[in-house]
């Protein structure tokens, strides 16, 4: 026999193989614990520390300039509305464009050269650092005052966020539509539907839940972004009161956190924690919601 004659079937804990296996298993468990630890720590600090500064005033008031009042820094009200407004602007731009682009990729040009290039391009665009999106919008919108002479504005902020959402939405739409079985397309054509009818009435509804998952994830990512906003929307301490205000500086939760975290005043720091609390709650809710929606669809990834 050419093998080390191992007659016993008994587990031998002193065997090199068994020691090695046990050690590696313990190490991998340790790594898993280390990987989960930051989430637990960050979430608990944000919830406990941030939550303790949350009250009615914080949610409603406008923030005070640093150093004015050492005891109170006001509230984060305008930042909350600002984040929602800019996320909405970004969605209005990126959802139709992204879903449309995804429809083109999945339904019209499955493997053509142009489609390959677009898929490649959207992967590259997804990898472009978010701050570059800010620099880009600064260069073409803010510094040129192309939007009716306004410079820093909520609209510019929203547009730069839409650049970040676009590739995610295209990709998830493309993939979601590809999961819809071809039988359904043949069935639709078989009863004489036009391609437009087939897409709008059959494949798009079938892929709806997967697409929504992608849109919500993209939205969650955009709403938490700071880098594209710091020199497009800048920051404002005031609520918007009219449509015109969209063309002026606009505050957001993320920029508020960035600005106030680095202030030497305790009150401003506390406001940054309070803003983190709201932001994290909103983003985690969006994430969990998108997961849940993802499990609803007939052809969702999680089921196949």
């Amino acid at each position: 026999m050419n093998y080390t004659s191992q007659k016993s079937l008994t587990y031998n804990p002193s065997l090199t193989r068994n020691i090695g296996n046990k050690a590696l298993t313990i190490i991998s468990a340790l790594f898993a614990i280390i990987s989960v630890l930051p989430l637990i720590l960050v979430i608990s600090y944000v919830l406990i520390k941030g939550g303790s500064y949350i009250n009615f005033d914080t949610l409603i008031l406008e923030p005070e300039p640093p150093g004015d009042d050492l005891l109170s820094a006001g509230g984060i009200g305008p930042a909350i509305t600002g984040t929602f407004i800019m996320a909405a602007i970004a969605s209005i731009i990126s959802i139709p464009v992204g879903v449309g682009g995804g429809i083109y990729l999945a339904e019209y040009s499955k493997s053509g050269k142009f489609a390959k290039f677009i898929r490649f391009g959207s992967n590259v665009l997804a990898g472009v650092p978010s701050i570059i999106a800010g620099v880009f919008i600064y260069a073409i919108i803010v510094s040129t005052k192309i939007l009716f002479g306004s410079m820093f504005s909520g609209i510019a902020g929203g547009i730069s966020l839409s650049i970040l959402m676009l590739p995610t939405i295209i990709k998830t739409t493309d993939e979601a539509l590809k999961l819809v079985p071809n039988d359904m397309r043949r069935a639709a054509f078989g009863v004489g539907a036009s391609k437009f009818t087939m897409i709008t009435n059959i494949t798009l509804p079938a892929a709806f839940s997967s697409i929504s998952t992608g849109v919500l994830l993209a939205l969650a990512r955009a709403a938490g972004e700071t880098a594209p906003l710091i020199f497009t929307a800048l920051f404002s301490r005031y609520y918007i009161t009219s449509f015109d205000d969209l063309f002026y500086e606009m505050g957001s939760l993320s920029v508020l956190i960035y600005n106030f975290a680095l202030e030497p005043y305790e009150a401003q720091n506390q406001l940054a924690w309070a803003a983190s609390f709201i932001l994290v709650i909103v983003l985690l809710t969006l994430n969990i919601l998108s997961r849940w929606i993802g499990t609803l669809g007939t052809f969702s990834k999680n089921k196949v």
């Binding site: 050419n2 191992q6 079937l9 031998n12 193989r17």
Partner: protein, 267 residues
């Protein structure tokens, strides 16, 4: 193979084996003594638990979450489900060939050398590879392309490569779980010939759908059947109906259901 000091002629014994997946019983109360250096086939309709039982013999069911076994599986006098048993050790002594050919994404040569190395092989590797491929009757087809990927072979050749891989680790028992189900008739025939050859050195247990195959290759046959669970909806429980020499089983089965199955009345 140097197997001494074992008095009984049985290699593997199943002693009141029941297997459950989560809350549902897959197969219950199996008693069966499998003879050394003989071919034993497990037959029966689908869902009767024959695959589950064969996978229990080298503890492959450990990989399936929620799979539990009661009773005992005795291999050379040792209960392989005892607390202090190393399943890796068990699998080195009881090799397995699977339903789908599953070569590693490596070269043909490496497919065999890998298993041997894992088992601490110390001899001449080239020789082992050649011998194993010859024993598995696939040497002629792949001697000129040992460095090609295992996936470059046809399905039947891949399966014989997997048999060669198992032979190379010199187990005492080889389990084959429907090894021909994915193959064409010609490849099936070749594998059956291989099994005849291997009998000299190994104890073989083979699960098969095909009664003619059981009749052709095996010395002993175990017939499994299913019964409806009384209360649960739609579930089936497998059990061993009859276990005997293949000759007796196919000529004069003792049980009515065996007779019916063999004569093709169901299944």
């Amino acid at each position: 193979m140097n197997k001494k000091n074992i008095k009984s002629t049985s290699s593997v014994s199943l002693d009141n084996v029941s297997i459950t997946y989560g809350n549902s019983v897959a197969v219950k109360n199996v008693f069966c003594d499998i003879e050394k250096n003989q071919v034993t086939s497990f037959i029966g309709p689908s869902g009767c638990g024959k695959s589950t039982v064969i996978r229990a013999i080298n503890r492959m069911n450990d990989l399936i979450e929620g799979c539990k076994l009661s009773g005992s599986v005795i291999f050379e006098g040792i209960d392989i489900y005892a607390e202090d048993i190393d399943p890796v050790e068990v699998r080195r002594r009881i090799g397995m060939v699977f339903q789908q050919p599953n070569p590693f994404p490596k070269s043909i040569y490496e497919n065999i050398a890998f298993g041997a190395r894992v088992n601490g092989y110390k001899g001449n590797m080239d020789q082992l590879v050649e011998e194993s491929l010859i024993k598995a009757a696939v040497w002629d087809e792949c001697k000129d392309k040992l460095n090609d990927s295992g996936y470059s072979l046809s399905g039947g050749q891949q399966q014989r490569l997997c048999i060669a891989r198992t032979i190379a680790i010199e187990p005492d028992v080889i389990l084959m779980d429907e090894p021909c189900s994915a193959l064409d008739p010609l490849s099936t025939l070749k594998i059956e010939e291989t099994i005849h050859e291997l009998k000299k050195n190994f104890t073989i247990i083979i699960v098969t759908h095909n009664m003619q195959q059981a009749n052709r290759v095996s010395d002993y046959t175990a017939f499994f059947n299913t019964e409806k669970k009384n209360k649960d909806l739609g579930g089936k429980i497998g059990f061993l109906v009859e276990f005997d020499k293949t000759k007796n089983m196919f000529n004069s089965p003792k049980q009515k259901s065996t007779q019916d199955y063999i004569s093709g009345k169901f299944g």
